[in-house]
């Protein structure tokens, strides 16, 4: 379970997260929607400790992410994250990209890591690209590789940060298919996305962010069908 | 208190040496740049197999120590009885040496102009010459100028080697004074300072130009 309570964060005068609280249960898929600069991506970075918070608390499986004594590297192995820019490691093959962390962080043997890597790459449809370097892949393939890389750590949670925003339109579908598959398999996911139809389809709950505040949260039917807040309605009207 | 036997005359002698350094640098850069542009444009606009012999020769200038080049050309002119002064030999060798580097800069600069830009120019009805002078030249110049300034500084430092042929440039003049007053550290420091005073502002200018142009892109 991910429990976010009264989190505040600001860059100088700019409030990026303003008293945000959100609980995500095991197996749940939560989408976060909102305009750019609304603090959605920052929230994901805070969940796995890549960005510090000023006050409030974030607990993952009861462990305080931002507490001094927390082994953040160990905690991060439980939380996979995929970025808008896929950040493939250019000097490693596709398989090496995926197996590096299982081998070096989880200390798995090469054979074991390779088996996991193969399985996950199969899973995202890259089973035939194992020994290719990322530069030879399309953006969509690199992004699916990044998903496999996160999955190879066998995380409990997956965070997706606008993973399709930097892709050419015709490549978006293949990445969404991969995420759809994960959702069906019961992975706990938080996704920041601009793909409204997709959010509506896969999410258990949808949250709307604006200027660092979570204005509204509810089932897809509620948010898309009958938004309670004028900000939400306005935003949906502008993007749909 | 710090004491030195370095006299005002000696300082003038050093400055004279610096003058020779600058003079040789000037001729080397003038000749090297003209040749470099000719070679570079030729190499950028002609198929590689036609320019391979030239490329090979220019590569030699970059792969053999300058000192050896100076000695060789000087020995050759003596054998051939050309009776050219060491100063002229130095200028010729340094100009050729510079042209090898400069042609690479020119070639790289031209290659860095996007083909699409040039196609756009041609599609507007510009001739090859107009494309070269109106489009390629201004863009390539921006790309090349910072490196060209760097090359100038490099050549200025490399002129120190002509002392081997007996020319009294800055470094050699400092050596002459050292032999007399026996204060190597101080005299060399003064000579180094003169090099620094010449090159540091120019290198800063180059860096600033590069930054400014990058921002505008």
């Amino acid at each position: 379970m991910i429990e976010i309570e009264n989190v505040h964060k600001s860059f100088g005068d700019l409030k990026v997260l303003d008293n945000v609280s959100l609980t995500v249960k095991k197996g749940e898929v939560v989408s976060i929607i909102g305009g750019s600069g609304s603090g959605k991506s920052t929230l994901l970075m805070c969940i796995n400790g890549l960005e510090p918070i000023q006050s409030g608390s974030i607990r993952v499986d009861g462990i305080e992410v931002h507490a001094k004594g927390t082994d953040i590297n160990k905690l991060r192995t439980k939380i996979g994250i995929v970025f808008q820019q896929w950040n493939a490691f250019p000097h490693l093959t596709v398989l090496e990209n995926v197996t590096l962390a299982p081998r070096k962080v989880l200390k798995k043997s090469k054979a074991e890591a390779d088996a996991i890597g193969r399985k996950q790459l199969e899973h995202v449809g890259l089973g035939d690209k194992l020994d290719v370097y990322p530069s030879k892949l399309s953006g969509g393939q690199q992004q699916r590789m990044a998903i496999a890389r996160a999955l190879a750590m066998e995380p409990q949670y997956m965070l997706f940060d606008e993973v399709t925003s930097a892709l050419d339109p015709q490549l978006v579908g293949e990445v969404l298919d991969t995420m759809r598959l994960l959702a069906k398999e019961g992975m706990t996911m938080i996704l920041v996305t601009h793909e409204m139809a997709f959010a509506r389809e896969v999410s258990d709950r949808v949250a709307f962010f604006k200027s660092g505040k979570m204005h509204e949260i509810g089932t897809p039917e509620q948010i898309f069908g009958n938004p309670q807040r004028p900000e939400t309605a306005q935003f949906l009207a502008s993007v749909l | 208190m710090f004491q030195t036997s370095l006299s005002l005359n000696d300082v003038m002698f050093l400055l004279q040496g610096a003058g020779v350094t600058l003079l040789i640098t000037f001729w080397a850069m003038l000749g090297g740049t003209i040749l470099g542009i000719i070679f570079g444009v030729f190499r950028a606009t002609t198929p590689w197999w036609a320019t391979a012999p030239l490329a090979f020769v220019l590569d030699i200038f970059r792969s053999v120590p300058l000192l050896i080049q100076l000695v060789l050309v000087n020995a050759f002119q003596a054998i051939a009885g050309l009776n050219i002064s060491a100063f002229v030999v130095s200028c010729i060798v340094l100009a050729l040496y510079t042209s090898a580097y400069c042609s690479e800069l020119v070639r790289g600069g031209i290659a860095a102009v996007p083909v699409t830009t040039r196609r756009a120019a041609r599609s507007l009805g510009m001739t090859w010459w107009q494309d070269m002078t109106q489009i390629v030249y201004p863009i390539a110049l921006r790309i090349m100028l910072p490196s060209w300034i760097g090359l100038t500084l490099g050549v200025m430092k490399d002129t120190a080697l002509v002392s081997w042929l007996g020319i009294i440039e800055l470094l050699r003049s400092s050596q002459i004074i050292v032999t007399r007053i026996q204060e190597p550290l101080f005299v060399l420091t003064v000579a180094g300072l003169i090099y620094f005073i010449i090159s540091f502002p120019i290198s800063r200018l180059g860096a600033r130009l590069e930054r400014k142009w990058r921002e505008n892109d």
Binding site: R76, H91 | S63, V64, L66, V71, A160, L161
Partner: protein, 221 residues
């Protein structure tokens, strides 16, 4: 014009001697590169530190190395240090001069190499649970190495060319030094130096081509 007969035979006979000099030349270049790389890394780190003193030392070193002639730097080692009672022989003076020069140039190269790896790479590595040190070692360093490899090869060629300056401070064991000794004995300047030029060219090409082959194997991506 040209009332001169070229005598290549003695020059060719001196080839083994000159090859011996070439070995010394390579030795100096390699050692000066190793020292230069080690100091260059330290200088690059220092110039990025928050301490003003460390930044000042690194900056001074880099600027002197880049803005004065290599021969000046060798003179400083050979004559200048003498005033502190440090008397280096011509071999050590040449080696230190070139190493000083290498370090200054390589420090700039390494700084550029660090910038060549985007910060998002570290972020991606950290998000997989890598600590800061292993993220640097496994992700940043290999990519940085690629960015600096070509400039490092260039510096190596420069180091080889710079070794020829040893003759100016009286070194007689490297390729130029050996050639100059033969020249002084026979006054066949052109022949001997022509052969030396060919040898330098071959050494420089061997280094460049070797590095290219190595890079081809190493950087498959």
């Amino acid at each position: 014009m040209f009332n001169y007969t070229f005598h290549w035979r003695p020059a060719i006979q001196a080839l083994p001697q000159m090859l011996g000099g070439a070995v010394v030349t390579l030795q100096i270049a390699v050692i000066s590169m190793i020292i230069g790389i080690l100091i260059g890394v330290v200088l690059a780190v220092m110039s990025g530190s928050s301490s003003k003193i460390l930044r000042g030392i690194a900056g001074t070193w880099i600027e002197i190395a880049r803005n004065t002639p290599a021969l000046f730097q060798i003179y400083m080692a050979y004559f200048g240090l003498g005033q502190f009672g440090i008397h280096l022989d011509s071999f050590v003076a040449l080696l230190s001069g070139i190493a000083f020069n290498n370090a200054g140039y390589l420090a700039e190269t390494f700084r550029g190499g660090l910038r060549a790896v985007p910060a998002t790479q570290v972020r991606a590595a950290r998000s997989l649970g890598f600590g800061p040190i292993s993220a640097f070692r496994l992700i940043v360093l290999p990519q940085m190495f690629r960015a600096v490899f070509y400039p490092m090869t260039n510096q190596m060629v420069w180091a080889i060319l710079m070794t020829s300056l040893g003759v100016v401070v009286g070194l007689n064991s490297d390729l130029t030094g050996v050639t100059q000794e033969l020249n002084v004995k026979t006054f066949r300047t052109f022949e001997y130096f022509a052969i030396a030029a060919v040898l330098y060219y071959l050494i420089a090409k061997a280094v460049t081509l070797g590095a290219r082959a190595f890079a081809y194997r190493l950087f498959r991506y």
